[in-house]
């Protein structure tokens, strides 16, 4: 099961505002929406919902297929490339795809204030922050294995769900209803339950420094996600592809730093592309697309939707793996999936009016 989670970190890697001004903006957006709805417009409301649904589904499907590619590549015994070079290529590909989308938009709509690539220091200054947070988190990851084993780490990573919820509330000042909070706690419990196996109890023996590191990593990861949403939503009319372009440029830069810190020797001796295979290429392609889907979810939905989407993807992956790899589903998986399903229901039933 650990593979399903493995990629979760990487796909939020990419994205990176000035929080105070966001709060003002989102308030304006909300009042505009209400004004439009009361004016009997409603059709733009519907477009928003449709767009939200499409990007959420895309993220879910891409995340599941990512996990399946990882299982596949492990089964094929091909996992010998350096992860940092792959991450760098993912950022580069996302940058290229954003530029490609922008050239099409410029051709159709012309260059406007909202879709021009050039930016101001004021707009761009916050973009490196999420990428820097992820870099720091990935470096910590090397040290936590002194305190927790790999399957234990996969269990502890579910703390990300709680940290995202708490930081979403504190930083973005968005409210969840009590029922939605109940749903969020259940999401965390359900995902963990679905991953339980006979060795899971070892995680309870984790020492205090291990717990502290796991919590710090969950906070860094949650903070990076929430901060990305803040940056992207600060300028609602700004084209998402421009915002992505700048996020990914800094993603490239920070991943270049990661190559130097973590894999300098391997790259210098065996070459940048050592160990790459067809599956690796597919994985890079998939990571790039799902990274873009994450940005879209941040733009048109929020971090909560993202967490639900990637959690449901984890369950989908296991079900698909039954057919593809003859996986056996455990009773714990069925119980966890039921809890996650109820949690999804509670999130929608508990909406604040």
């Amino acid at each position: 099961m650990m593979e399903y989670r493995k990629i979760k970190d990487e796909d939020d890697h990419d994205v990176a505002s000035d929080l105070e001004s966001l709060k003002g903006k989102s308030h304006t957006v909300a009042s505009t929406n209400i004004a439009m709805a009361t004016l009997g417009g409603g059709s733009s409301e519907r477009t928003n919902w449709k767009r939200k649904g499409v990007v959420t589904c895309a993220l879910t499907i891409l995340t599941s297929s990512q996990a399946i590619l990882i299982v596949w590549s492990k089964r094929a015994g091909k996992y010998e490339y350096s992860v940092t070079t792959a991450n760098f290529l993912v950022e580069t590909l996302k940058c290229a795809l954003s530029l490609l989308a922008l050239t099409r938009i410029w051709k159709n709509e012309g260059v406007t204030d909202d879709n021009r690539l050039s930016t101001t220091y004021d707009e761009v200054k916050v973009f490196p922050i999420p990428a820097a947070l992820y870099l720091f988190k990935n470096l910590l990851q090397y040290y936590i294995f002194a305190y927790v084993d790999a399957p234990g780490y996969q269990i502890l990573k579910n703390l990300n769900i709680i940290s995202t919820g708490v930081l979403y509330r504190i930083i973005l000042k968005k409210k969840l209803s009590e029922i939605q909070w109940a749903g969020f706690i259940l999401l965390c419990c359900g995902c963990t339950t679905a991953q339980l196996n006979s060795n899971s109890d070892r995680v309870l023996q984790t020492s205090l420094p291990g717990w502290i590191m796991a919590i710090v990593m969950a906070l860094l990861s949650g903070f990076a996600g929430v901060y990305t949403e803040a940056i992207i939503k600060k300028r609602p009319s700004r084209n998402i592809n421009v915002q992505n372009f700048w996020l990914y440029v800094f993603g490239m830069a920070f991943n270049a730093i990661a190559i130097v810190i973590q894999d300098f020797d391997a790259v210098a001796n065996k070459g940048f592309f050592h160990g790459y295979s067809f599956i690796t290429v597919l994985m890079i392609l998939n990571h790039a697309l799902s990274g873009i889907a994450v940005s879209m979810v941040m733009k048109y939905a929020d971090n909560i939707v993202k967490v639900y989407s990637t959690s449901v993807a984890m369950l989908l992956t296991a079900v698909v793996s039954v057919f593809l790899f003859n996986f056996h589903l455990s009773l714990a998986f069925f119980l966890g999936s039921t809890v996650v399903s109820v949690s999804v229901y509670l999130h929608s039933a508990g909406k604040l009016r």
Copy 2:
């Protein structure tokens, strides 16, 4: 963990209306309550709540200490008495305690229509039904072990939670809100999760006849509980001790039948009290008191409260066992307990207005 569940069957053994007339009655009671509340009375409302709370807490505490007694008696290796004779004594003791309570009430309040022991055929005709349902279920229990092992049976017994909810809705025609249904599904998942161990997955290999028997047993147990509530609530002003007395008389009769069917040889050869110990006496005492608490919960609350109460008791037992017997709590237990706690919250937050 299997011991915690073991006793659950026995404590609802005791109790057993005419459903159509109940629906009419409970409607009248509800409107009386509303009328009293709107008249600014409220104090009788408060008394009701207090009584409900007291009987629920009593049931929870008695059920946990029951389970602890069972663990204790197994640890001491003393579990050699025949369960049917113990059950018969439990019913007899409950009968005696009801009579004792009634003599005190007669002394204080005098004999009235509501507290006199004599009854009509119309009142008493439905009282044997719950006891008969339990007898039938306990006989089935001997056959299910051909299809499921004992730990697997403990897992399947959580189906009782769902069957009680469904039959409560269908038979008593009482509504639960969608949020409360979500809570109820979670209660079932949470209890099962808390009981997971490395062998639990075997239950998924249960054959079709095994599943059918488990579902039939869950329906019989749920039906007996719901039917008991119907009988007791049919005559709201009737003293609960009189209702209990008649229920327990039939409980004694049906348990006498069970002795003949299941343990005739053992009782004939080794005597009625063979294998009894001090712990056995404590267990019989505890079962009798918790049986009475179940009846009280049926009178002043309902089957849903009873299910929550006994489920929370199961978790309490495990926590207490950590201190008493050096039990180790599993990660699954923590996850299951959290899900059960959220479920209790949802049951109260989701109340229909």
